[in-house]
Subunit: 277 residues, 2 copies
């Protein structure tokens, strides 16, 4: 009885303080080059973000793209040109140093990977931080659901789809989705819970037959790892923050900087601060 | 993008007044024996209810059964013994005359059908009114979803399942569900919308493979009518108010009175008054 299930356990203020301390320590370590790994599982209850940095000319149109596609591209913050500090999302966040690994795209191709972008920073760079499904995964776990990717200690399965985004002037492309398998009653519960997190891609965009959205083979994801799907489970698909990376590859801006997959910006904001209802 | 879809259009106070007038007129006609048909589609926006009347000894345990199984048995009202007026649900509702057709069960078997129960009424009869999926169907339609049973002008498809209710001392049995097919994105939207109506069975209890819940053949419902399921659609299953009728058949009380399927009590309460969030 899905509506009888308990509410997610609240993150107590003690837990939040502990997670906040961990988030800030992790950013300090990252800034000093002492942490360059995946942020998955760090600072539980704290929102992590996808990163996109673009020159002002391109950024203006990317902002339009995000506004037209808020489900794959839920904006947590956008900076003024040249502004490296993301005060809105946390204390002393310097976007040039506080992400464990950056991907540098030049003319739509991944050209370099680096651990800070101080040398690449200049006066008209605009930073976008987009919400990430890590936030709703935390809520699903607190509600008692099992996440296969976490049980398998693997990256979530991601797939290109045939679902077109709404194009802006320069940016376009199909949506990328993450997939998590659930028993049907848990899938219904997961739809209810993730509906509360629009800044974390919100409710699923598809459920059931992968071929409906152009996915040929669930065991062969385009990004991340495959996970087993058990008898009686149903695949549930959410919009994914990799979508804007595909749009960048399509748009071919002279430079674009993103985080490396799984190595996110850890903020000071709790997931619950971003929830609705 | 399900979370971008519009909210359901509100029932304006003018619409509510018109529907309320229609509800009261329908009850007056019913009381006078001039209306004995299905209440489906009447007084749109107004809640209709499933009826169960039991002698006090059995009613005490049925109340426990409802409390243990609020998804199939969402209680809108329970009366004191012998009290025929259901003031909580509307003006001058006399439960002995205001339902178009009653089914009389004796020792668990359907013994009679009648249009009023004045002759059967006595001092220790207790009336239960349970919420009905007509309320959330109204919300789904206002949100722009198509309901196959309404498009086909047929009764909703109902099936016995292998999902056990939680038994009380006398009452037990498996859950009955209604099924409505949707495209997957609409199924997700339907889960969101019906979650707002816990007094109308709330969110679905199952989605996808009917065999998971013991349904062998969707084209052969146990109650109501079969509806076609189109390519790419997914069946969505909600708990159904017929569940308590099966529990009555199992419990074999000396007498139990219910409404005839589809011929419900029309209340004065708007569906939105019963919604949450």
């Amino acid at each position: 009885m899905s509506q009888l299930a308990g509410q997610e356990a609240p993150l107590s203020s003690n837990h939040y303080e502990a997670a906040l301390t961990q988030a800030r320590e992790l950013r300090n370590l990252t800034r000093d080059g002492k942490f360059i790994g995946s942020t998955s599982g760090f600072a539980p209850g704290i929102a992590q973000g996808n990163l996109v940095i673009l020159p002002k000319d391109w950024a203006d149109d990317f902002l339009v793209f995000c506004q037209k596609n808020p489900v794959p591209c839920p904006l947590l913050s956008v900076s003024s040109p040249g502004e490296p500090m993301i005060d809105l999302l946390g204390k002393d966040i310097d976007i040039r140093t506080d992400v464990p690994e950056y991907h540098i795209f030049r003319n739509g191709e991944l050209a370099e990977k680096t651990h800070d972008i101080k040398d690449l920073w200049w006066h008209d760079m605009v930073t976008f931080v987009l919400g990430c499904s890590f936030s709703f995964e935390d809520a699903l776990i607190r509600a008692g659901l099992s996440l296969r990717n976490i049980d398998c200690q693997s990256n979530v399965s991601m797939y290109r789809t045939n679902l077109a985004t709404t194009p802006s002037q320069y940016f376009s492309g199909n949506m990328v989705v993450t997939m998590r398998p659930f028993k049907p009653a848990d899938a219904i519960r997961a739809i209810q819970i993730t509906s509360r997190y629009p800044k974390s891609h919100g409710a699923p965009v598809h459920i059931g037959n992968p071929a409906d959205i152009g996915i040929k083979d669930l065991s062969n994801p385009d990004f991340g790892d495959a996970v087993p799907i058990k008898d009686g489970e149903i695949p549930v698909f959410w919009a994914c923050g990799v979508t804007p990376q595909l749009a960048i590859i399509n748009a071919k801006p002279p430079i674009a900087i993103t985080h490396a997959p799984g190595k996110m910006l850890v903020t000071d904001i709790s997931n619950e601060q971003l929830s609705v209802l």
